[in-house]
Amino acid sequence: MMNRRSLFAATAASALSAQPVSKAFAKAMDSGLLLDVEDRGSIGLFERIGSLNVESGLDFHTGYRVWMAKSLHRSALLQAFKLLRENGYEPTDDMPLDEAVALFTSDPIIALDLHNWERTQEIMWREIKNAYDRDADRYLEELASAETQGPGGLELDKALDIPDYAKYEIHIQPGGYVGDRFAGYIYYHGQNVVFPNGNYQDNLQVSWSRGFPEAMKGRKVERVLEQGCAAGQFAMVLKRMFPDAEVWADDVAGPMLRFAHMRTVEHKLKVNYVQQLSEQSQFPDNHFDLVTNNLLVHEMPADKVKALAEESFRILKPGGVYYPLDSYSGDQPRGTALAKYNAWRNYRWNHEVWWMEYYELDMAQAMRDAGFIVDENGPAGRTDTTRNVIGYKPA
């Protein structure tokens, strides 16, 4: 039996065939242009995947998740309430994690809800990955052609010692963020299934940026950093929101940064991407007016989240703002048996390996310990909360 902690060789090994470059690639590089592989065009911000059949399969799973939310998940919720009452609990009561897991996983509807959530995600990732692997040479050339293009820049660090905590297949994405050459493409398209009703126009990132105008009201915004930028969608939103600011974005994962940079170049936005550990960055002291992250902290162990807050404090200018956006950065529910089960479900079967640490983490305290003046009622970013924790570096 395979030990799941055994390190898997990344797909790089099989991808390293030193094939000659195509004429299209040579021409693009000679003329200093991006080789944009876009066989089926774009709709607004969304670049369509290269096959109608794959697109339709993904469309099915997007719709299936919509149905799940309306029907199956609702039934599962009703079953959960029924189970709680049958066992002498109110829906708002808490219970030990192992009891909550045992109680809820015993129910066939709740089990099916978990099953469908997991399997649709597995199928979706596999379909996207296969689509890019089938046409790998062209997409590798597309990525390579973008590396030297601007506006903006891409600094990859081949010598970076990527820590184990970042090497898991989070979201059960094949290879995670670091182990598949097409991780950026896979994550980008997968969001249309994972997020309700799709994310075709980066609509999630746009809607979750709603708190910035209030957070930065009356403040100079000359330099902005997004930590853990993944596919770069939030960094692009930040650049559009603060067009005169110098926008930086970092991530530990090279494949994600390559995709992020390529897409940002395509959209002619100037964002500087850097491969590094966000909690141990190469930026100077007192450098940024705004440091933010979106869906990052739940991907890190609690001690790294604390280190991230300390690093953010170091690189922010006096008076600068630290604005982390994630699943428990506002008033999202915690402290009930059902919330605990959902956290466990994400941890165990979405392979969000640091989720339970995040569930227990007091983010506001971590920020206070780092030196920030903290407002737990800061402007809401994500749409599932009415407030968000925000930290100010004393002026």
Binding site: R4, F8, A9, A10, T11, A12, A15, L16, A18, Q19, V21, F25, A26, M29, D39, R40, G41, I43, L52, N53, S56, G57, D59, F60, G63, Y64, V66, W67, L72, R74, S75, A111, L112, L114, H115, N116, E118, R119, T120, I123, L140, E141, A144, S145, E147, L156, K167, Y168, E169, G175, G176, V178, A183, G254, P255, L257, R258, Q275, W349, H351
Partner: protein, 112 residues
């Protein structure tokens, strides 16, 4: 000009593989697999149906079509919305039964 060395460098690293491919999330492995197969069948059926809708749309607009036209076709926002409605109805017709909450066992006595 960048050469094959640059092309070959994918900036990937080793990773910890998840165990989801060995997971049993329903009462037994076969039930788990069969339900997954049903989901796959729905995706295949929808894929065929959507391709047919593209073909019909193109035929009504152009009279004759090619494979390239089918692949490149971009539906209008109105057509997209109509197809989404059709997709959601298609899924509901097939799968809504999975959300049925039953609690009367086969050997339950009549309770009138």
């Amino acid at each position: 000009m960048a050469g094959s060395a640059q092309k070959a460098d994918t900036h990937t690293t080793d990773f910890f593989k998840s165990d989801t491919d060995r997971s049993v999330l329903l009462q037994d492995l076969m039930t788990d697999n069969i339900v997954t197969a049903i989901i796959n069948l729905g995706a295949e059926q929808w894929t065929t149906r959507r391709r047919l809708m593209v073909i019909e749309q193109l035929l009504s607009e152009h009279g004759s079509i090619t494979t390239e036209m089918i692949e490149a076709y971009i539906p209008s926002p109105e057509v997209t919305a109509a197809w989404e409605q059709e997709r959601d109805a298609f899924i509901t017709r097939i799968y809504d039964v999975l959300a049925r909450r039953g609690d009367v066992p086969v050997d339950a006595k009549l309770d009138y």
